[in-house]
Amino acid sequence: MTLILEALRYLVYVLIFPGFLFCFLTGLLLCGIDRKLVARMQKRVGPPILQPFYDFFKLCGKETIIPAAASKTTFLLAPLVGLAALVVIQLFIPVFRFSAFSNVADIIVILYLLLIPALSVILGGAASGSPYAGVGLSREMVTILSCELPLVLVLLAVGKTVGQALGLGLCFSLTRIVEYQMEYGSLILKLSMLPAAAAFLLIIPGETGNHPFDAAEAETEICEGPLAEYSGAPLGVYKLSHAIKILTMTSLFVALFFGGVGRGLENLVMLLGVTGGLAGALIFLLEILVLFLFCVVLTFLCISVVHAVTARLRIEQLFKYYWTVVTGLALISLVLAWYGL
């Protein structure tokens, strides 16, 4: 009996809460809020918040054309694999106290899992056979390359700080990082972690392919790069996975640097005097809400403002920017963490 219950619980995790439905709704909502904020910053009225939902369902209704030069199965399968991998990554990221599967993976693994959605775009573009897609996937690969080094440094710095504090040398497990922050306060408050947080903020638009770093899907120069030949439902799945990636990166940032907020919520609930089962549920809801709010603020900070204010970088400027400025920031925090500050 417990096996069925267990299986059901896993199914709920995968399909409902931190899984598909939650990602679908919050991802598209974040994308809608981002487009609205960018419009407001340009003194425009901007599309309604639910515009990404309309876009997604319209694309589902469109006809899916497969060009004769494309190889059909990879062309159709690539977006689905990318979306599935993104949903699975979201399962590993703990929402403050609650963590669905977080004992299964750690941050280096998440670093590598983040490659799969980007690879699904590359494979989809390669499968479509169009030369625009060829240029697009070569730029997409350079973008991954440039985001990888600073992301590695940030994760090593966090692993070192938490590992040293917990006394086991290095700790890559996300749950333990969050628990550490619960006891000793969020990592954002530590001096050595500030440059790492700043570096991570600069990585988010690059990793998700947002405006200043979207040389890979530049709709003006190379007709949306790898997505040039996509139409209908596969294109909708790609736009959806783009939106969910924003959610994944921002919630990863919250888990890594704002873990201590969970303790604050618990104290708040304790203050209100709610006890017993209700308290657990309340904390759970509060956690989700606070996570969503943090994600919105972070999306505004690192995606919308940067989108409204900057122009698109050429691909080698993007690479140079990431491997000098952002890597420098990350290196500072790594060295500080190394010498135990």
Partner: protein
């Protein structure tokens, strides 16, 4: 099957191969006989090795077999010994499977060529040499086996002498390879002069107390000799030329197996003979050479525009990973390195066989002339993608499991030893893994996807035999990737512990108690701790991915995701969008991919371009300079 009857299996597995080589010469002109002899020989040697797994690996026994039963008398080992402990058996099993798969593949692959009997004789000689080198317990015997495999490999590189550059590559390989062999020979002679014995076990008992300058010279010579065989940094251009010209099954053997012999030799040298791994200096030497060859070869691979040369540079960069992990001399590091060596043989073999398939069908491996092969060769594309994902460390595959262990080992070593150098190694390792992914994206786009050029119109799928061989390797890729804990517990950890139990190794050969008497400080026999700081179970991850993928496909199919509209090129609707132009063949050239990265590193690439001049005397010069540096290093720093 008690210990006694198992004793003969190592010599059986070596001799079967040499016997097969002899028989092929005699009866080789008939196709069926030739193929059956080759298959039987390789299969027999693999079965002998498999049979030894249970006793040696799991029960921890060590087989010491004296040729002609000349047991050591009076404390001196006169006879030639074959000593098989967990480490050599691990490499033995790995090599025999790779050789067996290569044999299956080459049956159909070599059908177009002429004078094939000579191919199989050389092939079996090479296999015998490699098996002999890994299982032998005698230093001079190891040198002889190295000689056999080098000359067989040189002859096989030049087998298709019509291919441009084959003879020149073979000549280069011959020159630098023989420099390496002579270094090993010189080292053996110096050691023999000092220790008056050639038996590995006795040497590893005597050398640590006589750490004189002569033995240091021997160390340097042997190290350079074995690193030539493993194509490490100063000798890596050889590999690129050799693979470029050799037939694919031979490339599999050279990159998958020969380089492992070099690594095996270095492990024996540093952990057993000189037991110098606890010295910081040898660790620095190995880790430095490993990470330099890791980074240099991956960047060189990015600049290639020939499929096989690109794979060759990648195999050296993966060997760099293995050497870095081995050089850490922590239990986790050694097991990660050995695990990555196994994975490398599997996925590199798969990639080389895929390259062979492309060459077999289209006649060229130039990335510029290929394209769109996935429509014509779907199975090869899928198998290639599995290999590419494995080498670039995508989670469910085996490359990721071993690379992830390597990152943890280096980072742990950095934390324990407190010196930031190892941290730099972890970062270089992670960046190199992404660069590997980049170069395999380049190959995928320019060979298998993109536009199908006119002249490749009538390309067909590869015959079943070749696909079957690739299929075995692909299955192994996935299997070892999904069950890392099984592989580590039954294969790599016994091998790693065997390396730390030098005393047991010596006693097995020289009779119990010899190690304690002969050595002042008997080797540490501490139980190595395999602590892993991260948790990662690929099985549960894969189940989650499958559930999510299933859910998404069900939702998609209900939303009529597969109701797609297909049509042929004549209707303009299904032509590619070129900004309105008519359909014309335009493929993103393989060497202007990643323009952004290459532009930022243009000084580095131009410097590398001049360095790799392709002239044989440059490479010979490098070999000698590396030897000189190694000797200097051994004298001053060791």
């Amino acid at each position: 099957m008690n210990m006694l009857s198992l004793q003969h299996f190592p010599i059986y597995s070596v001799m079967v191969l040499f016997l097969g080589a002899f028989l092929v010469v005699v009866f080789g002109h008939n196709k069926v006989v030739r193929h059956s002899i080759a298959l039987l020989a390789t299969c027999a040697s693999m079965l002998f090795m498999m049979a030894l797994i249970k006793p040696v690996m799991l029960d921890g026994g060590i087989i010491a077999y004296w040729m002609g039963n000349r047991v050591p008398a009076g404390g001196y080992a006169i006879g030639i010994a074959m000593e098989v402990d967990a480490m050599s058996l691990f490499f033995g099993v790995l090599i025999s499977t790779a050789v067996f798969v290569a044999c299956i593949y080459s049956i159909q692959y070599m059908s177009h060529d002429d004078n094939v009997p000579q191919y199989y004789t050389l092939f079996l000689m090479l296999a015998g040499g490699v098996m002999g080198m890994v299982l032998t317990g005698d230093l001079f015997n190891m040198f002889i086996m190295v000689e056999i495999l080098t000359f067989a490999a040189v002859a096989l590189t030049a087998f298709r002498n019509t291919v441009t550059g084959a003879l020149e590559a073979a000549f280069k390989y011959l020159v630098v390879g023989s420099i390496g062999s002579t270094c090993i020979l010189a080292g053996t002679i110096v050691l023999y002069a000092q220790m008056h014995t050639l038996n590995l076990a006795q040497l590893s008992a005597l050398i640590p107390d006589h750490f004189t300058t002569a033995t240091k010279l021997a160390f340097a010579l042997l190290y350079i000799g074995f690193s030539t065989k493993a194509f490490l940094v100063p000798f890596h251009p050889l590999a690129a030329d050799a693979h470029g010209a050799a037939p694919a099954s031979i490339s599999l053997i050279i990159s998958g197996v020969l380089t492992k012999c070099g690594i095996y030799g270095i492990i024996r040298l540093t952990y057993f003979l000189f037991q110098s791994m606890n010295l910081g200096t040898t660790q620095f030497l190995l880790v430095f050479v490993g990470s330099v060859s890791m980074f240099v070869c991956v960047t060189m691979a990015l600049a290639q525009h020939d499929f096989k040369r690109l794979l060759a540079f990648h195999s050296i960069s993966q060997i760099g990973y293995v050497l870095t992990a081995v050089g850490l001399s922590t239990a986790l590091g050694l097991s990660a390195g050995v695990y990555h060596a196994m994975n490398h043989t599997i996925f590199k073999g798969l990639l080389f066989l895929a390259a062979g398939a492309v060459l077999h069908e289209t006649g060229t491996t130039d990335l510029g002339k290929l394209g769109g092969l996935s429509k014509k060769m779907p199975h090869t594309t899928v198998l290639f993608l599995i290999g590419a994902a494995a080498i670039s460390g995508i989670p469910p595959f085996n490359g990721f499991a071993s690379k992830w262990m390597i990152y943890q080992a280096t980072y742990q070593k950095a934390v324990e030893s407190g010196n930031i150098g190892f941290l730099l190694v972890t970062i270089v390792a992670l960046v190199t893994s992404t660069l590997t992914l980049a170069s395999f994206v380049k190959v995928t786009q320019s060979v298998f996807f993109g536009q199908l050029p006119k002249e490749l119109e009538n390309v067909k799928e590869v015959p079943f035999g070749m696909r079957f061989a690739m299929g075995i390797l692909a299955l192994l890729c996935i299997a070892t990737g999904l069950f890392p804990n099984l592989v580590t517990r039954y294969l790599t950890e016994p091998a790693a512990t065997a390396v730390f139990h030098v005393g047991a190794y010596i006693n097995a050969a020289m009779g119990s108690g010899y190690a304690e008497t002969a050595m002042i400080n008997p080797p540490l026999a501490a139980e190595p701790a395999f602590i892993e700081s991260g948790i990662w179970s690929p099985i549960s991850w894969l189940c989650l991915l499958m559930i999510a993928l299933l859910a998404i496909t069900v939702v998609a199919l209900s939303g009529k995701y597969d109701k797609v509209s297909l049509g042929d090129v004549s209707d303009t609707k299904y032509q590619l969008f070129y900004g309105g132009e008519a359909n014309f063949a335009s493929q993103v050239g393989s060497d202007d991919m990643f323009w952004g990265f290459k532009y930022n590193w243009r000084h580095y690439f131009s410097f590398m371009h001049e360095l790799h001049s392709g002239v044989v005397n440059d490479y010979a010069l490098w070999a000698v300079v590396a030897l000189a540096l190694a000797i200097l290093y051994a004298f001053i720093v060791m």
